[in-house]
Symmetry: C2
Subunit: 233 residues, 2 copies
DNA sequence: CGGCCCATTGAAGCTCATCAAATCGAGTGG
DNA sequence: CCACTCGATTTGATGAGCTTCAATGGGCCG
């Protein structure tokens, strides 16, 4: 068992340093969007700042350099749904043509690179490798969205939460590690899963009691990253 | 009021011919996939036949020539979710790389054109117009999937049903017409919306009583195609 | 210490799923 | 034309799961 975690179900030890939890490095490896880096402008936003408003037409896409960003749709009566979370390396907003139905805002302090959509289009026309990368990226986004449809359409609260934790584990944990840090609050998780935040809280408490996860603050350790809640990954 | 519909809430008249309901013509206009038509093989499937099994890796994509096709994911315990319905002109399966999580089957008798994914890739590399069309098509699919996330994540049963009817009206009704014919059964609609089929049935009965729709068999007339259930289109 | 944000826990109510049964419509065959 | 059958739709009754409202507690920063 990792020393970072308390043995008791409810962790009460003082907050330890994040020993052994290295955040996935932001921009070490070469990235398929690198060719466009020069043409993009760096933008910084603080936690909870807006980046694009809901309904706003934008000629820009965004590459996340570091931090975490969410896309959210808010209905008149206040109901909210998070479309996706995006982390370092992700491209965001390419699919929105005229007027996006999702707003974009910062979950944590973030650094972004703002890219003109036309610049992406143009470069895709010149560079077949880049073109293929772009298509693959869109295909992956589409597969992810469709899998999430199954989670939201047919998953129970427990399955939705487990699905979320698995996704975040895959995207945020260093290779081979069970531990990772969730950058977002319960409210965001709830709106990502179409649940009430109380339900998310109770669900995570259940998983803790069942021995599926350990938690300490926003640190999570997924004890059985492989199996568990059926085909709802 | 259209003569096709009875004035009583529950239509009891004998089934009339589909007067005034012209199905959207299958392949009249030129289509961006036409350049690949020669390289594709025509495949016919009857109602409820499988086209691709769940989990099967396939090197093919499918263009719908006529009829209606569904993609469905079935969990071990029998829960099922429909990913999308596809109609004449749609391209299907391009985003599935190795092993798709959704099966493909025929809702009605269908005619398909089977296209090799590599042929699409290759042609995209040669023809910039085609390449742009492909990207736009994927972007549209992605936007549709994300909007549906909001419907499944935050919509009530009534909103989901209204959203479905609006989508089908937009995709199936001749321009300007209120009437259209739903090719799929209640079970499919329910699995598309993440509801029990009884709930869909009751919801449509409510809409009928509320004067939002008229129904006769699988014919639907959407009386207020524009407004209604908030931003959940 | 006091204030604020967020997480947690409890209790009550509502929506929707589930189980069960009746009805309807389209075929089919006498 | 009518009886029979089968799949699909409709309606009713009951209960589970989740939301909502409300209150408490914990951690952090001034």
């Amino acid at each position: 068992m990792h020393s970072t975690y308390a043995a008791t179900p409810i962790a009460r030890n003082p907050v330890p340093p994040l020993s052994g939890i290295a955040l996935r490095s932001a921009a070490a490896a070469p990235h398929w969007l690198d060719p466009l880096a020069a043409s993009g402008m760096i933008v910084r936003k603080r936690r909870n700042e807006d980046i694009v408003a809901q309904g706003e037409a934008s000629e820009y896409c965004w590459q996340i350099v570091s931090g975490c960003v969410r896309t959210a749709m808010v209905l008149e009566d206040g109901r909210r749904l998070i479309g996706e979370f995006h982390f370092a390396g992700d491209l965001l907003g390419y699919e929105a043509l005229g007027g996006q139905s999702f707003a974009v805002s910062a979950v944590s302090d973030v650094v972004l690179r703002r890219l003109r959509r036309t610049a992406i289009e143009a470069h895709a026309g010149r560079d077949p490798k880049f073109d293929a990368h772009l298509r693959q990226y869109m295909a992956a986004q589409l597969r992810a969205a469709r899998n999430r449809l199954a989670v939201l359409g047919r998953g129970t609260a427990g399955e939705r939460i487990m699905s979320f934790l698995r996704e975040m584990h895959a995207r945020l944990a260093p290779a081979g590690a069970r531990e990772f840090v969730l950058p977002m609050k319960l409210t965001d998780i709830a709106d990502y899963l179409g649940l009430a935040l109380e339900t998310v809280c109770r669900g995570m408490a259940d998983l803790r009691r069942a021995g599926a996860i350990m938690t300490n603050r926003s640190q999570i350790a997924l004890l059985f990253p492989a199996g568990g809640a059926g085909a709802l990954h």
